[in-house]
Symmetry: C2
Subunit: 121 residues, 2 copies
């Protein structure tokens, strides 16, 4: 089994993540090598007020954001949507997405990147 307290998870401070603003904290719930080849990210992201993850493209994979706390604006290609705690948004393979914190509290979300072409096919 694996068991980790929050403080034991690998954590990165990403400045201007994907061309976004401010510093986004990425805390890895599972490390990429613990995903059995199914994907490459299962992490909690914290986006401070005013900060963002810039628009970026996913190829061969799809990323799901699940918002745990706060509110923001989610961008998918040239569209955007208000997003808040409890909402999920998944970008499709080949499309681009990003997210910005438009509130005055931290925007906390789960990011899950799974490979979009099942190795079973």
């Amino acid at each position: 089994m694996l068991f980790r307290h929050s403080t034991e998870m690998a954590t990165q401070q990403n400045q201007n993540m994907r061309g976004g603003k401010g510093t986004v904290t990425v805390k890895h719930v599972l490390n990429p090598n613990e995903l059995f080849g199914n994907g490459r990210l299962f992490a909690q992201l914290t986006v401070p007020p005013g900060a963002s993850v810039g628009l970026h493209k996913h190829e061969g994979e799809a990323e799901t954001y699940l918002v745990l706390q706060g509110q923001g604006r989610y961008h998918n290609n040239d569209e955007s949507y208000d997003i808040a705690a409890g909402d999920m948004a998944r970008v499709d393979d080949g499309d681009s997405h990003g997210i910005e914190n438009t509130g005055d509290t931290p925007l906390v979300l789960i990011g899950l990147i799974l490979f979009s072409h099942s190795k079973a096919n």
Copy 2:
């Protein structure tokens, strides 16, 4: 893209889940057919005070719990651990796990089941 508000996610009320106590709510962030064959569950589970998910075995897959709120006791085979918001625990392929809410507030967690044998191998 996929975008869903919390109220639009498929939700189940599971009585005596896996032989546990009380009723556990399972809200599917992604439905099983949206996981591209990489796994079979990405959901938020809510375990009320006094309730539990009974000890159950995983085969051909591994499940990670990430605790979002509350506190409880995590069981893995014949061992058990206190678990609280921010902690993660993953059961290995072939092992058994369960979780009980030992606090007086809801125990809320993410459950992610990925297949343990990468289809790439």
